[in-house]
Amino acid sequence: MMKRVLYILLGILMFSSCYRFDPSEARYTDGPIWPDYMDVTVPVGIAPLNFCYTADCGPVPVTTFSHGDMSISIKGREVVWKEKEWKRLLEAAKGEDITVRSSVLPDTWTIHVSEDEIDYGINYRLLAPGYEVYSKMGIYERNLSNYKEKALIENTQFDGCVNCHAYNRGNPDNYSLHIRGSHGATLLNIDGEMAAYNTKTDSTLGFCVYPYWHPGGDYIAYSSNNTRQGFHVLADKLIEVFDLDSDMLVYDIRNNCLISSESIKKKDVWETFPAFSADGKTLYFCAASPKPIPAEVDQIRYNLCSVDFDPATGTIGSRIDTLVFAEGTGKSVSFPKPSYDGKFLVYTLSDYGNFSIWHHEADLWIMDLETGESRPMDKINSHDTESYHSWSSNSRWMMFSSRRDDGLYTRLFFTHIDENGQESKPFMLPQKHPLHYYSYQNRSYNVPEFVTGPVDLDRTDAEKMINCEERIQFGFRMSE
């Protein structure tokens, strides 16, 4: 009798812990394969691009990948690579195309293997696409050459939410990480030394968010936002997140002091999303004229602006230049991100406001910093939201978040940007069993950032720092 019970229990255990590919798990696309890896450009070190066929009936497909003399065939509705074979094929095809032929599809397609390398990995926040209350969330690190993901910090360790995080051009030794809630703090890791700061001062609106490192490593640009949210009643809109006020600030790391100036602390202008130029002498940011909230929330439009910055003295310039007058075209700019080679700047353009992730119409635009001309990035934009984006350290790859699959759960895509600023067709962050993984992933990817190596964040130390009351207070001064 006992044996029988044991067998039944083992049976249940086996049944519940086996992975079975089920093409009906999700149907995000009308295309023949998902994720759509047809005619994409990939870096040589990327993890295998496993995919599945969306048709769940008919003959079992055989997919053949060939380059030169090499030819690898994989049979099945889900194409799952052996990592070594994939790496071997990519190495062989470096700078060239891999031709892909399927026994069930009439046309072949290619995977172009770029010679441009991609960074070691990425960091992102995973959280449910919610509103005020947060369940389990954390900052995670993903190695791009395989499927390994590890938690850097999670809110199981303390009461609160992990928020904005940023690295200096992907340098894992220099980061800023904001914790919200009763144990609110900003953890700054400077050259391997971590400390907890209180970034709110008597002279600023609130805590410092949206960090962006100065290329020299001595400054971090932040904004301080009084953010609220509202809920629409119409079916096609859900939520609106907006600021009631915001200011931009530059934190002088060596002197532990926030710097502001008359030019960027205007009462009649809301400044947000600061970003340093590649040479560190210009600060890009978004600026809007205040409007009555919530009555005219759909009239708030942010322009792309810039101001000079002198890293030698920490002086912020007095003249504000408007680079993109989005207001004039009835649009709004958010998340300006200049490439690290100083050639381009990518920003998000939506109908209004600055929280573009909740705007289905939000698209990515690229600006040539030499000519000042902008154009939509048609090859990577979709019918749904494209929002947050970041550059690889060599400025040849860009990662962006998109809600193109289901309209709510944000996923990550990568595109190659050539020296002329031309983007390639994007590919989705690879997973071992992508359809299954993304179908049951009930959290969104948020604030994705490249890292050039593993981040050495001691979870226990961080937990201790967050849970204790001790904070180093930010100072404040006005720029000369």
Binding site: S16, Y19, S135, G138, H232, V233, D406, Y409, Y440, N442
Partner: protein
């Protein structure tokens, strides 16, 4: 024990099982349902992997597996009864040289566990961890050689910790006590005990490096209580009761002491159950369950029998009144205390937004309902998802036309036992959206929701939102009922009077007449020109009310005579 004593002992266990079953099935069924809706147990490799990745994860997974059956309260009660009796029987098996008189002592851990499980946020994982530990200890004690047994026990400590959490410390404790009672080599026992203490201290410290949890949680259990910052004291008392029962047994050897040991087991259960069983919450969970199931008449019958006074119970009662078209005539027959009992404000917890979200859902405010359901799910303290709320979110997304999001939720529900059929049926709708209009619930809600005027939800502008819903679609009678009720509960008679004019039928409902008469009396010198739908009966009742009120009658006698009128609410409630 002789045959007679064995039978009596078995009867004690059977009686305990029946009592536990009866308690959870007849007195505490809504707590059982509550437990079920705080999780989304999925059959699948990824869910299993996620579950077992934390210390005590297998216990948590088994707990989740069992709690999914709480969908049916009698099955849940049965499972709880079995778990408690298993704890008792296994405790008994671990008592050395147990006698007839010591048998009742084996109930002590089960009694503490029973009291623990009266807490709606207590997780059955604690019971499973105790059962697993008692079983393992029992098996280990079959090994006759002390040294080998000690080594195996020490080696199994980290394994048990990983599988069932910190309660598994019970294993070396039992092994040590039983070895001592068997009068085995004392030196061996001492070395074993020291090694066990070192291991018990080291394991959570080591686990801290690999698990993202604070040390105290790793030490007291990740999976034993829904609130991670709460130390599950009663669960640990239950653990403590095992060695206590084993040691006490030495004092209860003689059969005539059975009465004393029985008293020792029964008295705490009898005295403490009323302390730990929260019947007020049981009532609340009952209202929530009936609202979920659409048992409107049962809600009204419950409220009729025992007047609700908490905002959630009043809120559910009001929803039931609206759904049965009795709001305008019977609302003040039930306790009311302001608009918070109609549509409460959002609070950041995992329970109260659920009935409120249900109100919004029935009103056709789908986005607001979705927000409340989503937030409630996100608020579950142990970071679980909820099958019930996932189902609710699938519905709201389906109504909104967000089919791929609905498909995602349906996909998760397809991996469950009790929501699978619903999920498959809903998947058919997602694949054929034209069929959605043929489902009355969805077709109705799509028809009454706001389509033309976008605005931001605002609790302060509830009357404007409800008014706009009615103006956009006059079929949404419930929105109008709620609008007028909102004005009445806020005692905003001018606004009520203004909105009441919009009604084309049902304007002469009893409470509306009462409010109009009152408003007229407050704003006019005489009855001339009063709307013609006011009946003579209402007018004369009002005259009686006013003269009684002006004569200074006490509140109790006024309530006895006029307690079911709007006038009584206006003058005596929500001050």
């Amino acid at each position: 024990m002789n045959r007679r004593q064995t039978i009596i002992s078995a009867v004690q266990s059977a009686a305990a099982f029946l009592l536990a079953f009866a308690f959870f099935n007849f007195l505490y069924p809504y707590h059982v349902h509550y437990q079920e809706q705080m999780q989304l147990f999925r059959f699948g490799a990824d869910y299993f992997r996620e579950s077992v990745a934390v210390p005590g994860g297998l216990g948590g997974w088994i707990g989740g597996f069992l709690v999914q059956f709480f969908y049916h309260a009698p099955v849940g009660a049965l499972i709880l009864g079995i778990l408690l009796v298993l704890i008792q029987l296994l405790t008994w098996k671990n008592i050395e040289n147990g006698s007839f008189a010591t048998y009742p002592l084996s109930f002590l851990p089960a009694v503490a566990m029973f009291l623990f499980l009266c807490d709606e946020n207590a997780l059955v994982t604690a019971a499973i961890a105790i059962i697993a530990s008692l079983t393992l200890a029992f098996i280990l004690m079959k090994i006759r050689r002390t040294g080998i047994r000690s080594i195996i026990t020490i080696m199994l400590m980290p394994v048990m910790y990983l599988l069932f959490g910190s309660i598994s410390i019970l294993v070396p404790v039992i092994v040590a006590i039983r070895s001592f009672m068997r009068e085995e080599d004392k030196k061996n026992i001492l070395i074993f005990s020291i090694a066990a203490v070192v291991m018990a201290t080291a394991i959570p410290l080591i686990a801290r490096a690999y698990s993202p949890y604070p040390l105290e949680r790793l030490a007291f259990g990740v999976h034993y209580h829904r609130y991670h910052n709460a130390i599950p004291l009663l669960a640990w008392i239950s653990v403590l009761m095992v060695p206590s029962a084993m040691l006490l047994a030495t004092a209860f050897r003689k059969d005539r002491m059975v009465a004393a040991s029985l008293a020792l087991a029964i008295l705490p259960a009898a005295c403490l159950t009323p302390v730990f069983a929260d019947m007020e919450k049981e009532r609340l969970f009952g209202y929530d369950f009936m609202t979920r199931m659409g048992q409107w008449n049962k809600i009204l019958a419950t409220s009729d029998k025992d007047s609700p006074d908490s905002p959630i119970a009043v809120e559910c009662t009001n929803l039931a009144l609206a759904k049965t078209a009795h709001m305008s005539s019977d609302m003040f027959s039930f306790f009311q205390n302001g608009p918070a009992g109609l549509i409460p404000e959002f609070t950041r917890d995992h329970f109260s937004p659920v009935p409120t979200g249900t109100v919004y859902y029935h009103l056709g405010m789908i986005n607001t309902a979705q927000t409340f359901f989503f937030e409630a799910q996100e608020g579950i303290p142990d970071f679980q998802k909820s099958a019930r709320l996932t189902q609710a979110l699938a519905k709201t997304n389906l109504i909104n036309g967000d089919y791929e999001v609905a498909r995602k939720y349906v996909g998760a529900l397809k991996q469950t036992l009790f929501y699978r059929e619903w999920a498959k049926e809903t998947e058919r709708l997602i694949n054929n959206p034209e069929l959605i209009e043929k489902v009355p619930e969805y077709a109705y809600l799509r028809s009454v929701r706001i389509k033309d005027h976008d605005f931001m939800f605002s609790q302060e502008e509830m009357d404007s939102m409800l008014g706009l819903m009615y103006v956009e679609n006059e079929a949404n009678v419930m929105a109008m009922d709620y609008l007028l009720a909102w004005c009445l509960l806020r005692k905003d008679l001018p606004r009520f009077f203004e909105c009441h004019k919009l009604l084309k039928k049902g304007y002469d409902a009893r409470h509306y007449q009462e409010a109009v008469v009152l408003y007229w009396a407050l704003t006019h010198d005489g009855p001339e020109g009063m709307p013609g739908f006011i009946t003579r009966n209402v007018a004369s009742e009002f005259t009686r009310f006013i003269s009684s009120f002006q004569s200074g009658r006490d509140e109790a006698s006024m309530q006895k005579e006029f307690g079911d009128t709007y006038w009584f609410y206006y003058y005596y409630r929500f001050k």
